[in-house]
């Protein structure tokens, strides 16, 4: 390992940083045979950058040379930037050395396309293979699948990696064609389908043979860029829902568009990346996956875009006042989950605690339920208070927004990455 690697590493990291996926969860590969590393099922973050994102995996581009010319990408071939290529050994050594020092949880390897998809994919697979077989490494590996690579290579990649991903980036095919003339939906969805069917096949096989090698135990994921095209939230969320349901995706990532190629007139000119919208999309994604909401309840023809001022759950509640107030002491888990401000953890605690005694507001506070929003939507063992039906939805909205603006004034945090769960 030489000092010039620093330079290579910098160029490569700069090229790879716009991939938002950094999850190291979902796999429980044990450290077999006294090798190095294991995957922890809940994932571990090892550091955090100043933009508030976690560093769990080392994100590298095997090369940032690319034969494609996608408008939204920093590494497009028409950009005049420093280019570099890692050898397989360099990536393997870096991963192992970083891993041994507990800097990282694993490797996230993607690559620009050089020569052809198969050639590129083959080198990526070699990195994963060397790590697993030569170094006896059992930590996390995430490989970006190259659209157009052969089935055989996808199969090999899946055997060594914990997660595979193919990025869709642009939510509608027409817009994709405008921005990335070399790509189309078919070239992206084909590998996704291949991976999906292989995962299902593998599950069946493992039922018969318990020790059959596993195929991408942490599943596959994708990324959608938000704000580069005029696609509505309804369209984006429906696509995401479709991917979760029909392609069995583990995660869909939303990435607020950062204008890296501001000279390209096909792209909108933004003053700052749409981080608020990205945050609301993640919240909606969570509602869909963990809160039993359907996409249609969150966005529909009447409300095609998410409300940027308030979170999607509150927005849903204000649109549907008929289902409130909810009695905390009687309602079932799914219904309690629909109360704005009450999350999975609080809902579970409520269910457990109410077995012993009826809960009132101070009980709720004690077990850690945040009542700022919730109090307008619940009744509990307490005198009747003004809830959403007496106050009317528009007034509740006003009250909650005015409380928020006071906070905003004191800390000027207008446009920044938001934490996924707001605690206040």
């Amino acid at each position: 390992m030489k000092a010039e690697t620093i330079n290579k590493l910098k160029i490569s990291a700069k090229a790879a940083k716009y991939d938002v996926s950094c999850a190291s969860s979902g796999s429980n590969r044990p450290n077999s045979g006294k090798g190095i590393g294991n995957a922890s099922p809940w994932g571990i973050c090892h550091s955090f950058t100043q933009d508030g994102r976690c560093i769990s995996l080392m994100k590298l581009m095997l090369t940032n040379h690319c034969i494609y010319d996608c408008a939204y990408c920093a590494n497009r071939k028409s950009n005049d930037i420093e280019r570099t290529t890692f050898t397989v050994k360099e990536v393997v050594d870096l991963t192992i050395e970083f891993y041994r020092r507990n800097y990282i949880e694993g490797l996230f390897l993607s690559s620009g396309v050089i020569k052809n998809p198969d050639y590129t994919m083959e080198r990526m697979v070699r990195v994963a293979k060397d790590l697993r077989t030569k170094q006896n490494y059992n930590g996390y590996i995430h490989l970006k699948s190259i659209p157009g690579a052969s089935d055989d290579l996808q199969q090999q990649a899946g055997l060594y990696a914990d997660r595979l991903s193919v990025n869709i980036e642009i939510a509608t095919e027409n817009n994709l064609k405008i921005l990335a003339p070399d790509k189309n939906f078919k070239s992206i969805l084909t590998p996704m389908n291949t991976i999906k069917s292989k995962i299902i096949e593998n599950k069946e096989e493992r039922k018969k043979f318990r020790h059959a090698p596993r195929f991408t135990p942490a599943g596959q994921s994708t990324q959608l860029i938000v704000g580069a095209t005029p696609d509505s939230d309804k369209h984006i969320l429906n696509l995401a829902g479709d991917l979760y349901n029909s392609k069995n995706l583990k995660r869909v990532y939303y990435s607020g568009f950062i204008p890296v190629n501001s000279y390209d007139k096909r792209l909108p000119a933004l003053i700052e990346p749409p981080l608020k919208r990205e945050n609301r999309l993640y919240q909606a994604d969570w509602l869909f996956r963990f809160y039993n909401y359907s996409i249609d309840e969150i966005v529909n023809d009447e409300h095609p875009d998410l409300d940027l001022e308030i979170d999607p759950k509150l927005s849903y509640a204000l649109r549907n006042p008929w289902m409130f107030p909810i009695d905390i002491n009687k309602a079932n888990y799914e219904t309690i989950l629909r109360v704005p401000g009450i999350g999975v953890l609080s809902a579970k605690k409520i269910i457990l605690a109410r077995r012993y005694s009826k809960l009132n507001l101070s009980n709720l506070k004690k077990i850690g339920v945040v009542l700022k929003r919730a109090k307008y939507f619940i009744t509990c063992n307490e005198l009747k208070a003004h809830t959403i039906n007496e106050l009317l939805p528009k007034n509740v909205r006003k009250i909650l927004l005015s409380e928020k603006s006071i906070v905003k004034k004191s800390s000027n945090n207008a446009h920044k990455q938001l934490s996924l769960f707001t605690v206040n």
């Binding site: 390992m1 590393g37 100043q50 933009d51 004690k366 945090n413």
Partner: protein, 262 residues
């Protein structure tokens, strides 16, 4: 005022609780010999650790609730907070006196307090898994300093033994001045002298550092600085996830470290 004084071990604390319950005295304070300062007007009960009495009560707790709950009590104990002994006393008393399982009865004060405490301890243990940084030494031992708020290193030993099975490592608690050493076979408790490690910076002295170590720290820092997206800078969330008290042992937060710019 009744003060129970135990010998700073977990078994000692449980013995003290056993004696308090047995004699039907409600303790105003249970305190370890380390923290105890003589109090003229209090009735003092000196407790010597007794494994039999420890086990009678510990088994009863296990029977009444479950293994996980015992783990929770132990975790809360590791917090070393000044009044945690009384919380544990009240919690155990509640468990033993109630005919049904009370571990999730969140209307009870001691249940909430104990759960909050053990959650904090668990979180701190998780922080060790995240923020420990090993430095390679000349004899191929990977050394890491850590300064945890609570005494949580014992909780993390298994994780590191599984993960780094093929490398010798040391994790050292610079606040409590003890650590664990894995020699490829077993883990044992050790102490380290000041001449090898600087406890304030957490760094191994240069003469025992492996030749390549500095390079990898530089590589890591340069990676860390590059992966940041400037357009998205958000120090509030950054500080929330990576509080300043962890910075001192992180190579990526070592502002003095210089890596060659091109």
């Amino acid at each position: 005022m009744n003060i129970f004084i135990y010998d700073h071990t977990f078994e000692g604390l449980i013995t003290a609780i056993h004696d308090a319950l047995e004699s039907n005295i409600t303790p105003d304070k249970i305190i370890s010999t380390k923290a105890f300062q003589d109090d003229l007007f209090a009735t003092k009960h000196y407790i010597s650790t007794n494994y039999e009495r420890f086990e009678t009560i510990w088994n009863k707790v296990k029977e009444k609730s479950n293994e996980q709950n015992c783990q929770r009590i132990f975790k809360a104990y590791l917090s070393e907070m000044s009044d945690i002994e009384i919380v544990i006393h009240n919690y155990i008393k509640l468990i033993l006196e109630t005919p049904y399982n009370v571990e999730v009865n969140f209307s009870e004060d001691s249940v909430i307090k104990l759960n909050n405490m053990q959650m904090k301890v668990g979180r701190e243990a998780q922080r060790i898994l995240m923020f420990v940084r090993f430095q390679k030494t000349v004899d191929n031992i990977y050394y890491a300093s850590f300064d945890p708020k609570y005494n949580v290193i014992p909780l993390t030993v298994n994780h590191f033994r599984n993960r780094f099975a093929d490398q010798k490592w040391v994790i050292f608690d610079t606040r409590r001045k003890f650590g664990y050493y894995y020699d490829l076979e077993n883990v044992r408790e050790i102490t380290i002298g000041k001449q090898k490690v600087d406890f304030t910076s957490g760094k191994v002295n240069d003469d025992v550092l492996h030749v390549s170590e500095k390079l990898f720290q530089k590589l890591w820092k340069s990676y860390y600085d590059t992966i940041n997206i400037k357009e998205r800078k958000n120090m509030k969330v950054h500080m929330q996830f990576l509080p300043k008290r962890f910075w001192k042992f992180l190579p990526e937060k070592d502002f003095k470290m210089k890596y060659e710019l091109n």
